[in-house]
Every structure is written in C-alpha cells, then in structure tokens.
C-alpha cells in the first residue's frame, strides 16, 4: 500500500512557477503550455523535478507540447499512481 500522497495540481503549478518563473496565478488547468512560453526543454525540466518530488519516473516522450497544464498533470498522476499501485 502506498504511503505517498497523490500529487496535486497545486504542487505541479508550484514546480512550474519555481522552475520556469511563471507566476502561479497564470497556471490553470486549461492554460496551454505554449501560452506560458515553456519550451520543450523546460517541459522536460519540470517533469524531472516532478519525478524527484513524487518518486516516479515520468516518460518525457509522452509530454504533449501542444497540450495544456491539465494534460501534463494527468500524465504525472497516471505515472505516479501506477508506480505506487
């Protein structure tokens, strides 16, 4: 049974704020990644920070640069939940 709590959207938004410098209030589920000027390497950097924090390796090749922050969050959630199952 996993003792690690499920990652929250807020935690991911905070990682984006700290890593990319985008203010928290500009990061909403529907926000397109391209609209907050994340380049492809920055997305990978965010995913690498998230995997250290949440303890699961995130397949960066599945990150959709044309997607939204919610999409990124759902990827993180899926990976973390399946690794802790």
């Amino acid at each position: 049974m996993s003792t690690v709590s499920e990652p929250t959207f807020e935690q991911l938004a905070l990682i984006i704020e700290e890593k990319i410098g985008v203010p928290r209030d500009r990061v909403r589920p529907g926000t397109r990644l391209k609209d907050i000027e994340i380049d492809s390497l920055a997305l990978i950097e965010v995913a690498l920070v998230a995997e250290e924090e949440f303890g699961a390796e995130i397949p960066t090749d599945l990150i959709n640069l044309d997607g939204t922050v919610q999409g990124l969050y759902e990827l993180v959630l899926t990976v973390v939940n399946s690794s802790h199952a």
Binding site: D39, S40, L41, I44, E45, A47, L48, V49, E52, E57, T60, D61
Partner: protein, 342 residues
C-alpha cells in the same frame, strides 16, 4: 556496495600527476553559425548555454589535437616518456586502425602500447577506469589518458540541432602509480550502459550494420545525429544516479563536494543535476560556453580549464559525471591533487 578484491590493498592506485589541454585556434561564434543555420545567438545560448566553440582544420585530425594535449600533460607531469597511451574519442583519424598508436607516434613514443576507447561522451571516464586497472595490475606505470575530438568532421551541415552544439578540442592527464589515499588517486569509477538507446546518439552508416557497399544508406546516415530532447532526461537521471553512487563510495555528503565537473553537453543538464544533488550552482564547473560539447574531450577540458582558473585547487573534493552515446554513463569522486600546468 561491492567489496574491494582481496589484494586491492597492495595494488597501486592510479594518481593524476599532470594535465594539459589544446584547442584548435579557429573560434566559431554563435553569430557565425547563424549565418548558415536557421538559428540565433540568443536561441543557442538560452537552450544550451554555449557561446562559441572551436573547429579544427583539415590539417588537424584528432591525433594532432590529442598529441598537442598529451605533450602539455606530460610537461605538466614532468615526464618525457609514458608506457601506455589511452585515447578516448568518437572521431578517430580513421575507422581503422585505432588513433592512439598515431598519437604515440606523434609524441615520439616508439613502441609504446596504445589503444582507443569508444564511449562517446563517457569515453574519458571509461578510459580512466581502464588505465587505473592497468596500473593496479602492474602492466603500466605512467599512462597518458587523452580525450580528443574533431566533431566538426562528422556534423551534418544541414542539422541545426547538432551543428550548434558540438566542438573540437583535446585534453589529457598523466597517471602514475601511487597510494589510494593520495590526492589525485582515481579510485573506483561507477560505469554503466544501455544498448537499447543506441539510436539516440549515433552515426548509422559505415559499420557492419549499415554497410557502405550494397544498398545505399541515406546520406544523412553518414553523419552524426543526436536526439537531444530524448537524451536530456536520460542524462540527468543517469549522471545523478552515478554521481550519488560515487559519493556514497567515498562517504561524502553533497554539501562536501567542492566541484561538480559534469560532461559539458548542455548547461541546463548540469543545472538540473546540481539541483537534484543539492550542489550549489557556483560549485558547477562550466566550460561549455567557450568550447561547446566536445564529447570525450569534455571532462578533461573542463578539468584543465578549472585547474587554470583556480576553481580546482589542491585538496578540492571533485565529482565527475558523464552520459554519452551507447548509451553509456559514469561518475567518479576524487580529491584533486596539486598540479603544475605549462
């Protein structure tokens, strides 16, 4: 943790006793590349941290760069002779024979055994590991370990992604037998590979898999190619994992590390590793801004650079880490010795 072999206590360690470097004189700035590739200085700097790199001329094959660096390393070590040359390179003078004998020949080392190590950007660490074993076994006493590259010779002129990243150069160290507690002792090196990632960093054609004769390979197959975005996360994870193992091996905490000398592929990779390991940014040795990614030469060039600037000082606790084609990776922890540079 593996225990050392029973006779390890009696075997000499390999100790770094000299260092030297050589860069081709031709400097290629980002602005120059922007005149023929669809890019800009700002894009290159923000994505990689690189400002300029060196390109060798056609009269400067890898053996030339390696010999220049080797000569300087031998002067630094105060030796006129070595009894083994180990060359880490991705860009040999020719696919056959190895380039190391040519380097020994250029250095006037008649009859000196010499061989190449092929592990792309991890090559120098693999070479140090091999050389350490030769010294421990008593096969050799003074070994010249060189990392040298002329990547400009294999880059696809139409590939912006590799064209702005890679550069040429060479650096070398001299190893001598010594005590494993001495500053400069190389110690055990953490190494690894994953052959399933061969396509990430490769030259496809010209070997037994995609032969030069017979069915025509795509022209781009003869050039170097790298899938940088896929490499990035692998590099951060493997370099961090290997560096952590190296630290555990010597019993250091991250805050005891004076310098992290990572393979100089991309500034953002180095920063991501520093953050994962909680090593402050000011302790990362950065050289890629001046020379780009020099593959197997990258770590020894960064060491030589840091030695010259004083970032590396006698007694400094240093961690080396690399990730490269193969895929391969490695890390080592050591205390830096007092060295003279010519």
């Amino acid at each position: 943790m593996r225990t050392p072999p029973p006779d390890a206590a009696g075997s000499p360690a390999a100790v770094i006793c000299g260092i030297g470097a050589w860069l081709p004189p031709r400097i290629v700035t980002n602005d120059e590349l922007a005149t023929r590739l669809d890019t800009s200085d700002e894009w290159i700097r923000s994505r990689t941290g690189i400002r300029a790199r060196r390109f060798a001329s056609s009269r400067e094959p890898t053996s030339y760069l390696a010999a220049e660096a080797g000569r300087r390393a031998m002067t630094s070590a105060g030796v006129s002779d070595v009894d083994m040359v180990v060359l880490a390179t991705t860009t040999p003078d020719r696919p056959c024979p190895a380039t190391a004998p040519r380097v020994a020949d250029r250095l006037g080392l008649a009859g000196c055994p010499a061989f190449d190590i092929s592990a792309v950007c991890t090559g120098f660490l693999y070479a140090l590991a091999a050389a350490s074993g030769l010294i421990a076994a008593g096969t050799s006493e003074h070994i010249l370990v060189v990392g040298a590259e002329t990547f400009s010779a294999i880059l696809n002129p139409q590939d912006r992604s590799t064209g702005v990243v890679f550069g040429d150069g060479a650096a070398a160290v001299v190893l001598r037998p010594g005590d494993r507690q001495e500053p400069g002792a190389v110690g055990r090196i953490e190494l690894g590979s994953d052959g399933s990632l061969a396509d990430l960093i490769t030259i496809r054609a010209g070997g037994s898999e995609e032969r030069l004769s017979g069915s025509a390979a795509a022209p781009s197959d003869s050039y170097f190619s790298m899938r940088g975005q896929e490499v990035f996360p692998h590099a951060v994870r493997r370099m961090t994992e290997a560096a952590r193992k190296a630290l555990a091996q010597v019993g250091w905490q991250a805050d005891e590390v004076d310098r992290l000398v990572g393979h100089q592929a991309n500034l953002r990779i180095l920063q991501a590793i520093g953050e994962r390991m909680h090593i402050p940014a000011e302790r990362l040795v950065v050289h890629l801004d001046q020379v780009g990614n020099t593959a197997a030469a990258s770590i020894p060039l960064a060491l030589a650079h840091a030695q010259a600037t004083g970032e590396l000082f006698p007694g400094a606790r240093v961690v080396l880490a690399a990730f490269g084609g193969g895929a391969t990776w490695g890390a080592a922890a050591m205390t830096w010795p007092a060295l003279k540079m010519p």
